[in-house]
C-alpha cells in the first residue's frame, strides 16, 4: 500500500473542504469596490448587415455609465486564432477577423453588438432593451455542405468562400490508399454525424476587469483554464498591454472541458472598459447566454471507409470529413479536426495506409472549438463504429476482429505521423472482458428478453494523444504557441514547500495530486507541500490545462524543478555533514551519508539555506528555490477498451444504460481515486453525447436547444454505476513519472460503445439497423426500428 499522501495513494482531496462549505472563490464571488456591471446586447439574427446602433434612448436610462459599440473597438485588434492550418495544396487557411464587438455585420445569434455598463446588473439589462438596432437580415448558412455550394451566402464578405481549409493527410499517401481500396477483399462504408455539443461546465463564464490608473496595471479575473495564455493573447494581440502590466487571475473555476481554454470577447471588453471608465467592470454570463457564446464542440459530418483483405486484416482507411468552424475561428479551432483528429485515425490498429480529408467550413453558428477530447472522440467514434459494422458484415466477432488487427509491438510509427511509445491493447481488452462480465451477458440478455426488452453489448477501443505537446513539432504544424509547462518550487526556511505551476485546476484536484508527487520525491508529508496555480502574478509562464496535459507535462516540470531542489539540498547537506556530495542519500526526508550513521533532517538543510551561517557560500547561493520548464519529446498515448450494455424498449425506442465498464491504461497513476473520478465524468459526458445531447440550429441559424429546457444534459438517473479499472499500466517511456494523462479518456472511449450496444440490441431483435446518428433519442431509435 502506498503511503497516504504519496504517489499511488487515493489521498482525499484538500480542495474539497472549501467547496463543501461554500468557501470556494469562484470568479463570480469576486466583487471589487466601485465595480460596474456590463450587459451585452447580442444579435438575435444569425446573419445580418448592421446598419445602425442607436443608443440615444438607452444612454439616458437610470444607472447607465456608458454604452460601447463596435465603433469603440475600430482601432483595436480582434480576437486572435492560435493555430494556422496549411491545406492540401500548400495554402494557408482563410482566417477572418473577429472583432470584440460586431462591426458592419453580425454572423451568429449571440454575436455581441453593444455593451451597456451600468451601476447595477439590472440597470444594464434594462438599458440594453432600449437600444434600437437596424439590422438588414441576410440569408444564413447553417448546413456545411450547403455553405460550400457556389453562390452560398458568405459568412465573411472578404473571404473567397466559406471554406476555411481543405486538409489532406497524409497527402502523399492518397494514391496508395485509393489503390489499396481497389484491391480490397471487403470494404465497409459508413456515413455518420458527430453531433454538435455544448460543453456546459456548471459554472458559467465570468470576467471582472480592473485598472489602476496610478500604476497603469490591469487585472482580469476570469474563468479560464489557462490564465497565461489569455494574458499573452489578449495583451499582445487585442489590447496592446505588455505582460508586466497585465495580471490574469483564474481562481476556483467550476469546470471547463475545453470551453474555458479560449480567449473570449468579454474578457477583452471588461479589461478595456475598466481602463476607459477607470473602475472595475464585471460580466456574469447567464446560462442562456452561454449557449450562444461559449465555443461549441464536435459537429463533424463524416464518410469513413475501411478496406480489409480476405483474412480480415485492415489494409487501408479513408475518411472524408466536414468540420464546422462556426462564424469565427475560436482560439484553437483549426487544430481540432486536423492535427488532433487525423493523427489518431490509426487507433489501436496496424492499418498500413490511411488518408484523411477534412474540409473546415464557416457557418452562421457559434464558433466551434475543443471540447473534452477534441478531435480524438471524433476519430475514435468513426473508427470504432466502422470496425463494428465491418464485423457484422463479415459475420465475425467484433472483439476478435479488433484483436486480430491490434498493434502489438512498440514503439510503433503509424502512417499518420505519430509514434506510440508504449501500450498493451490485448491486456486492456482482457481486463474489459473480466470486469464487464462478458460471460454473463447471454444470461442477462435472456432476462431482458423475458421482460420484453432488447439487450445489446457494445465494445470499442480507443487511443488518444495526450500531454500536448513537443513545441517544435506543433510549431511545424501551425501552432502559434509553445506547449511546454512550468513549475517553480519554493522551499521555505522551515521546510515547507510552495509549488507554483503553470497548469490550472478546475476540478482535477491538482492541489492534492501534485503535492503527492513532490512529497514522495522528498519523503515528507504531503501537507508540507502547497500547490499554487491560476494567477499570472505568482506562477511561471505556463500553457495551462487541457488535452490531459497537466500531470504529463506540468507534472514533469514539477519533477524537474524538485530534482534541482534536491540536488542543491544535497550539496548543503554534504557541507553540513562534512561529506562528499556523491555519498549523500535522501530518504524519508532525511539526508544521510552512505555507509555511515550520519544524517541531517530536511528541515535542517532548508534552514541552513536561508540562515547560511554554516554554508558553502563560495560554491552555491543561499536560498532554495528552483524553476523548470518542461517541453515533452512526444505525446503520451493512453489507451483502453470500453463496454456498454443497454436495454432498448421496442415499444418506445427508449435506451437505458444497464452496465458500463472501462479498462484504461494510463501508465503510472498518482491518485487512483482522482483518476477514477476523471473517467466517471468522461463516461457521463460520453453517454450524454450518445443518448441525449444535441445542439440544434434551424435553417435560419436560430439555436433550438438554447437552454437546459431543450438541451438534454445527462442526469443522475440517466446513468448507472460504472466499473472502471486502470490496473493495466504500460508507463510512458519519455516522461519522468511514466504518466499518460486521464482527463479525456472517458469522453473519447464511451460514445462508440453505447451506439454499438444499441445496434447489437436492435439486431438481436431481428431489426436490420446498421447505424443511427447520435443522440440515440427514443424517437430516432423507434424510427430506425420501423425501417
Amino acid at each position: 500500500m502506498p503511503k497516504d499522501g504519496g504517489i499511488g495513494a487515493s489521498t482525499k482531496r484538500r480542495e474539497d473542504v472549501r467547496f463543501l462549505t461554500g468557501t470556494g472563490n469562484y470568479t463570480d464571488d469576486i466583487n471589487l469596490r466601485g465595480q460596474a456591471y456590463v450587459h451585452f446586447l447580442r444579435s438575435d439574427v444569425a446573419h445580418g448587415r448592421l446598419n445602425t446602433v442607436d443608443t440615444s434612448a438607452a444612454e439616458g436610462m437610470p444607472g447607465v455609465i456608458r454604452i460601447f459599440t463596435g465603433k469603440d473597438f475600430e482601432g483595436i485588434g480582434g480576437l486572435p486564432c492560435g493555430w494556422q492550418v496549411t491545406d492540401r495544396h500548400g495554402e494557408v487557411m482563410q482566417e477572418p477577423g473577429h472583432p470584440v464587438l460586431a462591426q458592419g455585420k453580425v454572423r451568429h445569434v449571440g454575436d455581441p453588438i453593444a455593451a451597456v455598463v451600468a451601476e447595477t446588473r439590472e440597470q444594464a439589462r434594462d438599458a440594453a432593451e432600449a437600444i434600437e438596432l437596424d439590422i438588414e437580415e441576410l440569408p444564413a448558412v447553417v448546413d456545411m455542405k450547403a455553405a460550400l455550394e457556389d453562390g452560398a451566402p458568405k459568412v465573411h464578405d472578404d473571404l473567397t468562400s466559406n471554406l476555411c481549409y481543405d486538409w489532406g493527410f497524409v497527402e502523399e499517401n492518397k494514391a496508395a490508399v485509393d489503390e489499396a481500396f481497389k484491391s480490397a477483399a471487403h470494404v465497409t462504408t459508413l456515413e455518420l454525424v458527430n453531433n454538435r455539443l455544448v460543453a456546459n461546465p456548471m459554472e458559467p463564464r465570468v470576467a471582472v476587469g480592473d485598472y489602476n490608473r496610478s500604476t497603469g496595471d490591469h487585472t482580469l479575473y476570469t474563468t479560464s483554464q489557462n490564465p497565461h495564455v489569455i494574458r499573452l493573447l489578449m495583451g499582445a494581440f487585442v489590447l496592446g498591454i505588455p505582460e508586466h502590466k497585465l495580471r490574469v487571475v483564474a481562481p476556483d473555476v467550476g469546470g471547463g472541458f475545453g470551453s474555458k481554454i479560449f480567449h473570449y470577447a468579454e474578457e477583452a471588453f471588461c479589461t478595456f472598459a475598466a481602463k476607459a471608465l477607470n473602475r472595475p467592470v464585471k460580466w456574469t454570463c447567464s446560462r442562456s447566454e452561454a449557449f450562444i457564446t461559449d465555443a461549441h464542440g464536435r459537429d463533424h459530418v463524416t464518410k469513413i471507409e475501411l478496406a480489409l483483405d480476405a483474412e480480415n486484416n485492415f489494409t487501408a482507411l479513408r475518411t472524408d470529413t466536414y468540420a464546422n468552424m462556426g462564424a469565427y475561428l475560436s482560439t484553437f479551432a483549426p487544430s481540432v479536426p486536423t492535427w488532433l483528429h487525423g493523427t489518431l485515425m490509426a487507433g489501436n490498429y496496424k492499418t498500413p495506409l490511411i488518408y484523411v480529408n477534412v474540409k473546415a467550413v464557416f457557418t452562421n453558428t457559434v464558433p466551434v472549438d475543443a471540447y473534452r477530447g477534441a478531435g480524438r472522440p471524433e476519430a475514435t467514434y468513426q473508427l470504432e463504429r466502422v470496425i463494428d459494422k465491418a464485423a457484422r458484415e463479415l459475420g465475425v466477432d467484433p472483439i476478435a476482429l479488433r484483436r486480430q488487427n491490434f498493434i502489438t509491438e512498440f514503439p510503433y510509427a503509424t502512417p499518420v505521423a505519430v509514434e506510440y511509445d508504449t501500450g498493451d491493447y490485448h491486456a486492456t481488452m482482457d481486463k474489459l472482458e473480466e470486469i464487464g462480465d462478458f460471460k454473463g451477458f447471454a444470461a442477462r440478455r435472456k432476462e431482458s428478453e423475458a421482460k420484453g426488452r432488447l439487450r445489446g453489448l457494445g465494445i470499442n477501443c480507443y487511443i488518444e494523444a495526450c500531454g500536448i505537446a513537443p513545441s517544435n513539432l506543433v510549431g511545424q504544424l501551425g501552432a502559434r504557441a509553445g506547449l511546454y509547462e512550468s513549475a517553480t518550487v519554493r522551499v521555505n526556511a522551515t521546510g515547507g514547500l510552495v509549488v507554483m505551476t503553470g497548469s490550472h485546476s478546475h476540478g482535477q484536484g491538482h492541489e492534492t495530486s501534485f503535492a503527492q508527487v513532490v512529497a514522495e520525491m522528498i519523503g515528507i508529508d504531503a501537507d508540507q507541500v502547497e500547490i499554487v496555480h491560476g494567477d499570472t502574478a505568482n506562477t511561471p509562464m505556463g500553457m495551462g490545462t487541457y488535452g490531459s496535459r497537466s500531470i504529463a507535462v506540468g507534472g514533469s516540470a514539477m519533477v524537474r524543478a524538485t530534482e534541482k531542489i534536491i540536488n542543491k539540498a544535497k550539496k548543503i547537506a554534504a557541507h553540513l555533514m562534512e561529506a562528499s556530495e556523491a555519498d549523500i542519500e535522501l530518504k524519508d526526508g532525511q539526508f544521510s551519508v552512505a555507509g555511515t550513521d550520519k544524517s541531517v533532517a530536511w528541515g535542517d538543510v532548508t534552514l541552513a539555506a536561508y540562515v547560511p551561517h554554516n554554508y558553502p557560500l563560495e560554491d552555491i547561493e543561499p536560498g532554495l528555490e528552483e524553476t523548470a520548464f518542461y517541453d515533452p519529446s512526444n505525446f503520451t498515448y493512453p489507451s483502453g477498451a470500453y463496454a456498454c450494455e443497454v436495454e432498448v424498449d421496442p415499444e418506445t425506442g427508449r435506451v437505458t444504460i444497464e452496465r458500463f465498464a472501462a479498462a484504461d491504461d494510463f501508465g503510472n497513476i498518482i491518485n487512483p481515486m482522482i483518476v477514477s473520478g476523471q473517467v466517471h465524468g468522461g463516461i457521463g459526458q460520453g453517454i450524454g453525447q450518445a443518448l441525449l445531447e444535441a445542439c440544434v440550429y434551424d435553417e435560419n441559424g436560430q439555436l433550438q436547444s438554447g437552454s437546459y429546457m431543450d438541451y438534454a444534459m445527462p442526469r443522475a438517473d440517466d446513468v448507472p454505476f460504472y466499473e472502471v479499472d486502470h490496473s493495466c499500466q504500460t508507463p510512458c517511456t519519455h516522461n519522468p513519472l511514466g504518466v499518460k494523462g486521464c482527463g479525456e479518456a472517458g469522453a473519447i472511449g464511451s460514445p462508440p460503445s453505447v451506439v454499438n450496444a444499441v445496434i447489437d440490441a436492435l439486431q438481436s431483435g431481428g431489426k436490420n439497423v446498421t447505424h443511427i446518428d447520435m443522440p440515440l433519442s427514443p424517437s430516432r431509435v423507434w424510427q430506425a426500428m420501423q425501417g
Partner: protein, 161 residues
C-alpha cells in the same frame, strides 16, 4: 426599496431589495453568502438549492421577498461551528463526490433534504431525487455513492471511487 428580513443560518439577516430580487441574488450579493451558486436561468441545474422553512428550494425560483420571516439554511450553515463537516459533506469528501465544486453546495443541500424525508434511500431513489441537480464532472457515480454512504448504508460493494 422595501426591506426584507429573514433568518439565515440561524442569524437574523435583512437588506433592501427590489421586488424582482431573487432569493439567490439576495444571499450572494447582499449577504455575501457566495456558497450558493447560479448555474442556469431556467431552474434546471440546482446549484442554488437552499433550505427554506426546512424544505429544499431552488433559490433562483423564489423572490427574496417571499422569504420574509422564514428560516433559510445555506451551504455555509451545514458544518458545525468548529468546522466539523456535516456527515453528508464528509461523505462527499470521503467518496470523491465532487470535482470542480460548483454544483456541490446544491447537491449537498438536496441530499440533506432527501435524507431527512427518506433516511435510507435506494440507489434508484437517490438518482430520481437528484433529477433537479446537474453535475458535469462526476458522471454522478460518486455523488450517488456518497449519499448512500451518508445514509449509513454499506457502499463497499459499489465499484471503486
Amino acid at each position: 426599496m422595501p426591506e426584507v428580513k429573514m433568518t439565515v443560518n440561524g442569524k437574523p439577516a435583512s437588506g433592501l431589495i427590489e421586488g424582482r430580487t431573487l432569493l439567490v441574488d439576495f444571499l450572494r450579493e447582499k449577504l455575501g453568502l457566495t456558497g450558493t451558486h447560479v448555474g442556469c436561468d431556467t431552474s434546471q441545474c440546482g446549484a442554488c438549492v437552499v433550505h427554506v422553512g426546512g424544505r429544499a428550494v431552488k433559490a433562483c425560483t423564489m423572490f427574496a421577498a417571499e422569504a420574509e420571516g422564514m428560516e433559510v439554511k445555506t451551504i455555509e450553515g451545514m458544518a458545525e461551528p468548529d468546522g466539523t463537516l456535516h456527515p453528508i459533506q464528509a461523505a462527499f469528501q470521503n467518496h470523491h463526490g465532487l470535482q470542480c465544486g460548483f454544483c456541490t453546495p446544491g447537491m449537498v443541500m438536496s441530499a440533506a433534504a432527501l435524507l431527512k424525508d427518506n433516511p435510507t434511500p435506494t440507489e434508484a431513489e437517490v438518482r430520481d431525487y437528484l433529477e433537479g441537480n446537474l453535475c458535469r464532472c462526476t458522471g454522478y457515480h460518486n455523488i450517488v455513492k456518497a449519499i448512500l454512504a451518508a445514509s449509513g448504508q454499506d457502499v463497499s460493494k459499489i465499484a471503486a471511487e
